[in-house]
């Protein structure tokens, strides 16, 4: 990896053939190639219900990937997304099961606690000038510990709130289009992606996220309240982790307080495979969603093929390295 690739990220050039567009295209081609490969070589892979399996398996990682993408584009990193997800799930459990409140309040509990934790990380980074890697490494442990403390180290179940199932595993679209049994969680993921994409490309916050990641000093000198927007970025990312918390706990019908460690690496991998630059200033939500799909197609496909677990992990690692190499190679050409 060259130094220039890491430290001198250029802001997105206007025009159709930007690096990000190219990379999305490359990622998409890889995804299609994988789908074709497994359809040919893995018996029973190419069935509609397996495609639904893959979509459902992508939902949580896709949403966490979007959360971490925003932060990475702003020039930061968030290692706490996995355990923040767990803590938000526990908060939903406390509100709904322990306090017996109605569903909307449980959802609000997850989203707000996520935003608060993310905002807290952002504040530490902006005000105390602790590097994002360290600050969020600390937050990762804080969230993990609090999830165990608040839950009493026991899963919290949602049996008293049957409608909770509608967040992820139930399929509402079946009632509109019979036979199309896509779980709601998949639509939640796409919904989050669309909203995050609009924020990133069409709002002031989005413009500042890119500005922070491209050249923070320049942004500061041109009068941007850098600290404020950093905190907002991390808070938004934390809130999206809250969505992931709702998805995972809805699917398992329980908030599992010990789960979540390691999810941050899958999320970062999805962002990187999708073309988000770890140097900041460049990346797309759509790329991350494609990256998350590449990871779950690989996982599912290799499993259906009967490839050993150990090799599956190796292959995922190789794909990440290839993705970053493509990133560097494309940048040299531009």
């Amino acid at each position: 990896m060259t130094d220039t690739a890491l430290t001198h990220a250029q802001p997105e050039k206007p025009g159709f053939f930007t690096i990000a567009t190219m990379q999305k295209a490359v990622a998409f081609v890889v995804l299609v190639a994988l789908l074709i490969f497994f359809s040919v070589f893995a018996a029973n892979f190419a069935a509609w219900n397996n495609m639904v399996n893959i979509m459902q398996a992508t939902a949580v990682n896709g949403v966490l990937g979007v959360a971490v993408t925003l932060v990475i584009i702003s020039g930061g990193i968030d290692l706490a997304v996995g355990t923040m997800m767990t803590l938000t799930a526990v908060m939903a459990g406390i509100v709904l099961t322990n306090l017996g409140m109605p569903l909307p309040l449980g959802i609000a509990g997850a989203l707000l606690s996520g935003a608060a934790m993310g905002g807290f990380s952002g504040a530490i980074i902006a005000k105390l000038r602790i590097p994002p890697f360290i600050a969020t490494l600390g937050m990762m442990q804080i969230a993990r510990g609090l999830a165990l403390v608040f839950s009493g180290a026991k899963p919290i179940y949602f049996n008293d709130t049957p409608s909770y199932q509608y967040i992820s595993p139930e399929s509402s679209i079946t009632s509109l289009i019979p036979g199309l049994e896509i779980p709601n969680g998949v639509f939640v993921m796409f919904g989050v992606a669309i909203i995050a994409s609009i924020i990133l490309n069409r709002s002031l916050l989005g413009r500042y996220i890119f500005a922070l990641g491209s050249n923070e000093e320049a942004a500061r000198l041109s009068g941007v309240n850098v600290n404020f927007w950093k905190i907002v970025t991390y808070a938004l990312s934390g809130m999206i982790c809250g969505v992931a918390g709702l998805l995972v706990s809805s699917r398992l019908n329980s908030a599992q307080p010990a789960l979540g460690l390691g999810y941050e690496l899958d999320a970062i991998a999805a962002a990187v495979i999708g073309g988000t630059s770890l140097a900041g200033g460049r990346g797309t939500v759509l790329g991350t969603i494609i990256g998350a799909f590449i990871m779950s197609v690989l996982t599912n496909g290799l499993r259906v093929m009967g490839v050993q677990e150990e090799w599956k992990i190796v292959v995922t690692g190789v794909i990440i390295i290839i993705a970053v190499y493509v990133d560097i190679a494309l940048r040299k050409k531009m």
């Binding site: 892979f45 398996a57 180290a153 789960l259 499993r303 259906v304």
Partner: protein, 310 residues
């Protein structure tokens, strides 16, 4: 910390002679592999009730996760420094922690291992579940439920720990030895309920003729129940350990039944064995605390219900 260790070394010899006296309050630190998992809470409950019965004081500690071997060794050293009359220890690593245990033995502290063994003669006994035998019983139930032939798969919680290896081999070997018409087509590994669910759905996709799946711990069993519900699959599903999700899944027929260890019995065994050791009674090298097969029919049985947790 260093001071404490130094003090322990200084008074080690003295402790050796004073330990067997019952005049003072008898104190046993119990060091588990963790405390957040429900299984350990059940072990703790058993240890506490036995402590009451034997009129001794205990503390129950463990590291945050079952990967933190160094943290557990720190806890062990701190416990030894308190000069207890006995020590209960569930080693995270059956070899790496022997030198730390040697310190306790040098100080004359009787050691009882539990859950998984230590590769040394230092512990007077080991209170544990025979995982191989227990998983073998799961294989017998599986064979009976699918009529003695067909394809089965297993979702194992990890490929390196003693319990993961024991349960996998126990299940696989029993099938191979006793049921030649059953083939094991797939073995996957996941400890996390969400990943286990997606794993099992891929397995169901790959093997449409699959007749049964065995899941080797609570996380894997939750994943198995979720996967069955989401796919509507009719495979025979057998779990391990307990937890509310697993119990509910057995009650509504998603899971046929599960194997449970006897965590309460393990906790009782540790404290009882230490008390016996202090009285100079001889102990067997290994005490099998047993396991139960539970399903819809016997879940309410008080003997079984006592070892199940939510």
């Amino acid at each position: 910390m260093k001071k404490k260790l130094f003090a322990a070394a200084l008074f080690g010899a003295a402790t050796m002679f004073s330990a067997p006296s019952f005049a003072e309050d008898v104190y046993f630190p119990i060091i588990a592999k963790g405390f957040s998992h429900q299984f350990w809470q059940a072990v703790k409950a058993g240890a506490e009730s036995a402590a009451k019965a034997n009129n001794v004081t205990i503390t129950f500690e463990g590291p945050n996760t079952e990967a933190e071997i160094d943290k557990q060794t720190d806890i062990l050293n701190a416990a030894i420094a308190k000069k207890p009359q006995g020590l209960g220890f569930a080693a995270l690593d059956s070899k790496a922690q022997v030198p730390a245990l040697q310190k306790a033995a040098d100080a004359g502290i009787p050691i009882v291992a539990f859950d998984s063994g230590v590769e040394s003669d230092l512990p007077l006994t080991t209170c544990t579940t025979d995982n191989v035998n227990a998983a073998g019983a799961a294989a017998d139930k599986m064979a009976e439920a699918i009529g003695g032939e067909g394809e089965v798969a297993a979702e194992i919680h990890d490929q390196t720990s003693a319990t993961g290896i024991g349960r996998r081999d126990g299940f696989v070997n029993r099938i191979k030895e006793k049921y030649p018409k059953i083939t094991i087509v797939d073995i996957k590994y996941a400890n996390d309920a969400l990943k286990a669910a997606d794993d099992i759905k891929a397995t169901l996709q790959a093997y449409p003729n699959l007749k049964g799946i065995f899941a080797s711990n609570e996380g894997a069993a939750i994943g198995l129940a979720v996967a069955k519900k989401e796919t509507g699959s009719k495979v025979v599903a057998i779990g391990y350990d307990s937890g509310k999700t697993q119990k509910d899944a057995i009650n509504d027929g998603t899971l046929l039944g599960s194997i449970t260890q006897n965590p309460v019995g393990i906790g009782e065994c540790v404290v009882n064995s230490l008390a016996k050791a202090l009285k100079g009674e001889k102990l067997d090298k290994i005490i099998d605390t047993g396991f139960y097969w539970y399903d819809k029919s016997n879940m309410a049985d008080p003997k079984v219900a006592a070892v199940l947790y939510d």
